[in-house]
């Protein structure tokens, strides 16, 4: 980390990490309030960023406000370090903050994510920044902000339980698979952002600080370390996460979130870890999945080969 600090140099046409210091200060104040009231959505004067709304402007503003020259940044989208938008955001911070970047979860001091929580448990001192498209978990039930703010104020969450119950009566179980609402610190119902519900249990008592930025909706919220985060459920219909009958085709993991990869137009498919670093790390340690030697899987593995990609990124 210190070696990185010495090297940090950035595009001096912009302030460090793009935002001016006043704006960062405003955002940090919002973050402090958010950490003090876990799960509460703090309105903030979100700025326009040189990235489209809905593409991570909230996460970017939070990252820009918490990052320092000695930090190491990891950016993932769908769990992968090499999806287009993750590449774009990582490049942005390299340019405007000159900071070190990494793909290794354990090496990162700040991780900006869209739609996933890394499989590897986070540690104290790490910061996980979520990109949030719609911070309001009640929005689909009540479109008006004036109403939803009242509902949070009075902790009036009956409507949400009714919705979950209606799922059970129609389908036999709760039919929400991502953006699955959680209760934070026993007080606020919060949107975990569109992570699959598979990731929800990782939010509970996490050692890292979890910060959420919604740029378009201009809201910030947070979960401090070691905070209770319960996925909403019923006694007779307890919360469950997704399971796959298969293991990861490349690394053989049975406990990770799997993406379905279509191999041909005849129904051929394989399942691989969505967390690319987790998968690559396991393969490096000698774990092999059932299709690791398959030519189709080999082609896929090469396309996401870390060493080749790193070279391209320099």
């Amino acid at each position: 980390m210190n070696a990185a600090a010495e090297k940090a140099s950035w595009d001096e046409a912009y302030n460090f990490a793009y935002l001016d210091e006043q704006t960062k200060r405003m955002i940090r104040r919002a973050l402090l309030k958010a950490v003090a009231i876990p799960g509460y959505q703090v309105p903030f004067g979100g700025r326009e960023m040189p990235l489209a709304y809905g593409w991570g402007t909230g996460g970017m503003q939070v990252t820009a406000s918490v990052i320092g020259p000695s930090d190491t940044l990891k950016v993932i989208d769908q769990g992968a370090d090499d999806t287009t938008n993750a590449v774009s955001i990582r490049r942005f911070f390299k340019r405007v903050a000159g900071i070190a970047t990494t793909e290794a979860t354990e090496e990162a001091s700040v991780i900006q994510t869209r739609h996933r929580i890394p499989e590897k448990p986070l540690k104290e001192g790490q910061v996980l920044v979520y990109q949030v498209p719609q911070p309001e978990p009640l929005r689909k039930l009540e479109p008006r902000e004036t109403e939803t703010r009242k509902m949070h104020g009075y902790a009036e969450y009956g409507l949400m339980h009714v919705r979950l119950y209606e799922d059970i009566s129609r389908f036999g179980h709760i039919a929400t698979t991502y953006s699955y609402p959680v209760m934070v610190n026993g007080r606020y119902v919060m949107s975990p952002s569109p992570i699959p519900k598979f990731d929800n249990p990782k939010m509970e008592n996490n050692q890292a600080i979890q910060l959420f930025g919604a740029g378009r909706e201009k809201r910030i919220y947070a979960i401090p370390p070691y905070t209770s985060v319960k996925s909403l459920d019923f006694e007779d219909h307890p919360f469950e996460v997704q399971r796959w009958p298969q293991a990861c085709a490349l690394c053989g993991a049975r406990d990770s979130y799997l993406d379905e990869v279509v191999l041909d137009d005849k129904g051929g498919r394989m399942f691989v870890c969505s967390d690319t670093h987790f998968c690559a790390d396991r393969q490096e340690k000698g774990h092999r999945g059932p299709m690791a030697a398959d030519p189709a899987a080999g082609a896929f593995a090469r396309s996401s080969d870390t060493s080749a990609r790193k070279e391209g990124e320099r």
């Binding site: 004067g45 489209a52 709304y53 769908q78 287009t84 869209r114 979130y257």
Partner: protein, 366 residues
């Protein structure tokens, strides 16, 4: 193939190169200059300045060039640049009664003090394609005749004429020192004050505001509007630097302004009286300011004690969805990969279908 959604720095960089090449077009055709855009596509520049919230013709023209004429993209470019600019001062309110008028019309009165001034407008042109403009050697240097006498100095607002009789609601300035809401620094909050609403509508997408304004005319929340006055011209902008303590002129801006006069049936407390809707934009954009004035009035429903029943009267609906930078961003974010969530939905739908199948089989067996 799956690889297609895998990013890769090189693919992104090459895509940037390709858009640069595409933007330039056929190399045999001369490149358009930013000055040409500023001079000859002036109304596009006006729109980009208004919705981009920066009065700078050159930057707006550059944004239009960079965006290949995609005005919503140009507005986005200008906004993103704007956020990096420091704020030196807040100007004094501009006085549009002192405008150097280029155009000023009223549909409420036949003649008005100062006169009806048509100025440059397409209003009375026949919308026939003018093939003379397509000629290789261009149109030369057309010149309009100059009037014999200059326009009147003072051009009072038409609405103020009604004011003397109490026929129209009074327009009261906010108390001294009341801080004006700044939408570019603070998040939207509700109920919205008129300052917040007007800023939002001024920055709002022209098409969206136009459609909403139109909806009020077709019966979705209308208040029988009259175009009290539309004017366009130069006004001076003044600031009061702290070290001086008095106002100094820092330059002129061209703006368009619309005062809409609307019927109001009166209530228990108030006699029937005309009410106001207001629209303002940078540059010359009458369509925008008229639509804005209609929507502004529609959104005063709560204040007027009217029942808000229609989209244009619904504050949260209008203000949250008017911004095209926000809207375009969020719609386009659907292009980002969503395969983690899609996988979750796939799992669910397979499970639901399996359960459905099991149920059918069980019923058949019974």
């Amino acid at each position: 193939m799956y690889v297609a959604v895998k990013g890769g720095e090189r693919a992104i960089l090459n895509s940037h190169k390709l858009i640069t090449e595409t933007r330039r077009g056929d190399g045999a055709v001369p490149e358009v200059s930013v000055r040409q855009i500023g001079e000859q596509l002036g109304l596009a520049v006006d729109r980009v300045m208004t919705e981009g919230s920066v009065y700078d013709r050159e930057l707006a023209a550059l944004a239009i060039k960079q965006a290949q004429g995609d005005l919503v993209e140009a507005i986005f470019l200008l906004r993103a640049y704007r956020t990096t600019l420091p704020r030196f001062a807040v100007s004094e309110p501009i006085d549009t009664a002192k405008m150097l008028v280029r155009r000023r019309i009223s549909a409420a009165y036949k003649d008005i003090p100062g006169g009806q001034v048509l100025g440059p407008t397409y209003d009375y042109t026949h919308r026939l394609l003018d093939f003379a403009l397509a000629a290789e050697d261009g149109v030369g240097l057309p010149e309009a005749p100059v009037a014999d006498a200059p326009l009147d100095d003072g051009m009072p607002h038409v609405a103020d004429i009604l004011d003397h009789e109490g026929l129209i609601e009074e327009e009261r300035p906010d108390g001294d020192g009341a801080e004006v809401f700044d939408l570019t620094r603070e998040p939207m909050s509700f109920p919205a004050g008129r300052d917040q609403r007007l800023q939002n509508l001024a920055r709002g997408d022209e098409g969206f505001v136009l459609a909403l304004g139109y909806s009020t005319q077709r019966g979705y929340g209308g208040n029988h509007p009259f175009a009290g006055e539309i004017r366009m011209g130069e006004v001076s902008v003044e600031i009061v630097p702290e070290e001086l303590g008095f106002a100094i002129d820092i330059g002129d801006v061209v703006i368009s302004e619309c005062h809409m006069i609307n019927q109001f049936e009166g209530s228990k407390e108030k006699p029937p009286q005309f009410t106001r809707g207001y629209g303002l934009s940078f540059g010359h954009n009458e369509r925008k300011v008229m639509a804005m004035a209609l929507v502004d009035r529609a959104l005063r429903a709560r204040e007027m004690g009217e029942t808000a029943m229609y989209p244009a009267q619904d504050e949260e609906f209008v203000l949250y969805h008017a911004d095209n930078v926000e809207a375009a961003g969020f719609v386009s974010h659907l292009k980002l990969p969503h395969y983690v969530d899609f996988q979750a939905e796939l799992n669910l739908i397979r499970k639901l279908r399996q359960e459905h199948q099991d149920r059918l089989e069980k019923e058949a067996a019974e």
